[in-house]
């Protein structure tokens, strides 16, 4: 058991040396490491947001809203389809209903029922590989056409909404100029956003929490002040509130606008913050060619009327059209500060979210606390290592020295592995590291106690050491396997901080068995070859 082939010795030392080399960058500042030559290991341990400061934000979309929006789009499409063609082809319908999560409408002329079903069915699309279509079309009571979304269709719609939302959020965060944000879709309807090292987390939330649906609508001046106050407007119109802090009105000011938008933010190609003629911050924008044409036509036809600029159903401003706006560009004035104008420009540039997102979880750690935590954690880890090492030294003498050497290599190996694999070290992870230090010596304790026992039973040094290692190894294996099971459960089922703790614990258990059992055996075998006459243990 204590005979190591030369290649085994080399292999063990090679593993330890590699761990030490890979761990090396962690003992230097990031700026120093950056100037190291290319062949040197430069990867440092990936610090969690709780240590480096930053924000973790979980956003959630409501699947019901996605479904509702999808149904509204369908309604538009169906209307358009049934109105198409010459008089003979047009199909008149009664009022469309979206009740119960499905679209239904009566067909005025029963003879056209089949044609209506046929044409609505043409709008539906096959859903990928599932073989279903995205909507089912059927007839009830012999007069009503009912269009029901299929489950597969809903799922696909949600998935594509989340993918789009992810892209929009990525564009917005990139505008902040932060480095390495981690943005990913989680589960069916969530997006997790991790942004390290932020100075102003509030700015981040302002950017990702807004849908940023921009619309230009003509103002409906026919609504009486009483109706406006009651929120009533004629068909085809709606009452909207002014945005908070907008110039037009105090709290609760409202305005009636046409339901139909002249143009939406989808037709924007660029937006930027600049200053208006009066020196106040404004947002300047430019439409694409179709947008520009439509805007030019509407403004030409409606000179003297008011139009409203609406963001997320709140009116930013409602200027009067003084003259036709032909050039395809314009400015939004809205009592902005430089910052809020810039924010709006970023939102408009990055496009609107396909669905509203709500912040359901936020964990933000400021840079101060992050620094304090690293400092406290590192200090605790170093002091704990030294204290445990001293305790082991006075308890086991020479074999304690071996255990301590193993302990140091164990820590280097853990750091090295974490650096290379990109595992994240969190504050609980540091606690895990400290705990691993305590637990790693357990293997050596088991071995050394067993050797003591065997010596008491009168065995010779070599025999006692051999039996000690053999008997203790079985226990160590069983004991550590249960720890690995517990750590793996944390890693697989745990969330956030628990995961980080589980990672360190798992890596630590594996490396500690290697260093505390295999490596100390190598050290002891070197000592045994000198044929020691005495063993103080």
């Amino acid at each position: 058991m204590f005979a190591f082939a030369p290649w085994q010795r080399w292999a063990i030392w090679a593993v330890l040396l590699m761990g030490a080399v890979l761990a090396l960058p962690n003992f230097f500042a990031e700026t120093q490491v950056a100037s190291w030559p290319k062949f040197a290991p430069r990867q440092q341990v990936n610090l969690g947001l709780d240590l480096r400061g930053g924000s973790h934000i979980m956003l959630e979309a409501s699947p019901e809203e996605v479904a509702r929006q999808r149904l509204q789009t369908l309604e538009e499409e169906v209307r358009g389809e049934l109105r198409r063609g010459d008089d003979a082809q047009r199909i008149a319908t009664g009022e469309m209903s979206l009740a119960g999560g499905r679209l239904s409408f009566p067909v005025s002329n029963p003879a056209q029922l089949d044609a209506a079903v046929e044409r609505v069915r043409r709008i539906t699309r096959p859903d990928g590989l599932s073989g279903q279509r995205d909507f089912d079309v059927s007839v009830i009571d012999g007069t009503r056409v009912v269009v029901t979304p299929t489950e597969a269709g809903e799922r696909t719609a949600l998935r594509s909404a989340m993918t789009q939302a992810l892209e929009v959020i990525r564009r917005r965060i990139d505008e902040l100029g932060t480095r390495e944000p981690d943005i990913r879709v989680q589960g069916a309807n969530r997006i997790s956003v991790d942004v390290p090292g932020l100075k102003d987390p509030a700015a981040l939330k302002a950017l990702i929490g807004k849908t940023a649906k921009l619309e230009f609508k003509l103002v409906d001046t026919t609504v009486s002040p009483e109706d406006l106050a009651a929120g009533r407007a004629g068909p085809g119109s709606q009452v909207l509130p002014y945005a908070e802090g907008s110039r037009a009105g105090g709290a609760g000011a409202r305005i009636a606008v046409n339901r139909r938008a002249i143009i939406t933010g989808d037709q924007l190609v660029n937006a930027r913050q600049t200053f208006g003629q009066d020196g106040l911050p404004v947002v300047e924008f430019r439409f694409d060619s179709t947008g520009a044409r439509r805007f030019a036509k509407t403004t030409t036809d409606n000179v003297g009327r008011q139009f409203a600029i609406i963001l997320d159903n709140q009116v930013i401003s409602a200027p009067v059209i003084k003259s036709p706006i032909i050039g395809g560009s314009g400015v939004i004035e809205g009592n902005f500060t430089t910052q809020s104008a810039n924010e709006l420009a970023v939102l408009l540039r990055s496009g609107k979210l396909p669905v509203a997102l709500t912040v359901v979880e936020e964990r933000t750690v400021g840079p101060d606390l992050g620094r304090d935590s690293i400092h406290a954690g590192t200090l605790a880890a170093v002091v704990a290592t030294i204290a445990v090492a001293l305790f082991i030294l006075v308890t086991y003498g020479r074999f304690g020295v071996y255990a301590c050497i193993a302990l140091v290599f164990n820590i280097l190996l853990i750091l090295g592995i974490m650096s290379v694999t990109g595992a994240t070290l969190t504050l609980p992870g540091i606690a895990g590291l400290v705990l691993t230090i305590g637990a790693a010596v357990d293997a050596n304790v088991l071995i050394n106690e067993r050797i003591r026992e065997e010596r008491r039973r009168g065995r010779g040094i070599v025999q006692a050491v051999e039996t000690g290692y053999r008997e203790a190894s079985r226990t160590i294996f069983d004991a550590n396997l249960t720890n690995v099971i517990a750590a793996a459960v944390m890693f697989i089922l745990g969330s956030g901080p628990i995961k980080g703790f589980g990672v360190v614990l798992t890596i630590g258990i594996v490396t500690s068995v290697f260093t505390a059992v295999t490596f100390t055996r190598l050290l002891i075998s070197g000592w045994l070859r000198k044929r020691p006459a005495e063993l103080v243990l």
Binding site: A380, I392, V445, E449, T475, I485, V489, S495, I498
Partner: protein, 315 residues
């Protein structure tokens, strides 16, 4: 050089003689913990209760009373405001606001604005908000992780040893976890995700200890076929006593240092773990081992079998 020997050679305590007293104590503690959990419950942190926690730092000692008035006047629920790890830092805790899922975010903005308006030197060090829905999921996931963890390790012991050992290990785990939770119920220390990690670690450690004792019991069962079970268990516990003490002590050293130097965020976590080390060590000796007597393992255990034992006993 003289080495430190905490447990003298050939120590022979009659641990199991106290097993009935220990069982009574353990049962009292376990049922007491359950009763406490049922009556008082745990002091859930934002992770599990939802709502928000903010850690705010000040240039001088934090104006606690003024903060209580300022935040209290916002009408966003009853705030809990405490010093957090030093006189300059406070933790502000607010309950989950009613209404939609995103409402917590607005509360954070209002509190930040209100505090900064009155105290220019205030800086927000940490914000945690968890909506009602997410906190429900975190509770569910944490509970699943703990139960799955306990079940899997017990299953492993059953495979590696015998079913009686699996029962013993599982009982001692239930014992340890119950008392740890009871500790959190009575001290009102905040119970959050970190504590779940601590509980899972306690499960791992307590088992580690149990296995060391069980392993020795198995070895001795093969070696001394005629020995009385109680006597054999005592022998096994005594033989592993020195290891138990040294390992527990190194863990206690490491954790005590973490408790003092590791910062405020880790405090509850470390406290739970320290307690777990004590309970885990105790339960290996007084729950896991005696249970083997009560559940009943005999000479048939571990490949002996009656026939084999008799053959071995004959000259």
């Amino acid at each position: 050089m003289r080495l430190l020997k905490l447990v003298p050679d050939n120590t022979n305590f009659h641990f199991l003689r106290l097993r009935w007293a220990a069982l009574t104590l353990s049962l009292a503690l376990v049922f007491g913990s359950w009763a406490l959990l049922a009556v008082k419950g745990l002091n859930y942190g934002v992770d599990f209760a939802g709502g928000l926690t903010m850690e705010v730092g000040f240039a001088q000692a934090a104006p606690l009373d003024d903060l209580r008035r300022t935040v209290g006047a916002l009408g966003v629920g009853e705030p809990t405001i405490q010093e957090f790890g030093g006189p300059n830092i406070v933790a502000i805790r607010l309950p989950l606001p009613p209404g939609e899922e995103g409402a917590t975010q607005k509360v954070v903005a209002r509190v930040t604005d209100a505090v900064k308006a009155r105290h220019a030197d205030a800086s927000v060090r940490r914000v945690e908000t968890v909506s009602g829905k997410v906190s429900g999921e975190l509770i569910r996931d944490g509970a699943i992780a703990a139960v799955v963890g306990m079940f899997l390790v017990a299953l492993y012991i059953w495979f590696r040893f015998e079913w009686a050992f699996g029962v013993g290990a599982l009982s001692s785990l239930v014992h340890d976890v119950s008392i740890t939770l009871g500790f959190f119920a009575i001290t009102r220390l905040e119970f959050n995700l970190n504590i779940v990690a601590a509980v899972l670690t306690i499960i791992g450690y307590s088992l580690n200890d149990t296995i060391v004792v069980y392993d020795r019991i198995r070895e001795n069962l093969r070696k001394f076929r005629k020995m009385q079970l109680a006597e054999l268990l005592d022998l096994s516990v005594n033989e592993t006593l020195s290891r138990t003490i040294v390992t527990s002590l190194s863990l206690i050293i490491a954790l005590a240092i973490l408790l003092v130097l590791g910062g405020e965020v880790l405090r509850g976590f470390t406290a739970a773990m320290l307690l777990g080390i004590f309970i885990g060590t105790y339960s290996s000796i007084y729950i896991a081992a005696p249970l083997l007597i009560w559940v009943g393992i005999g000479r048939t255990s571990f490949g002996g079998g009656d026939a084999a034992a008799e053959r071995a006993a004959r000259p």
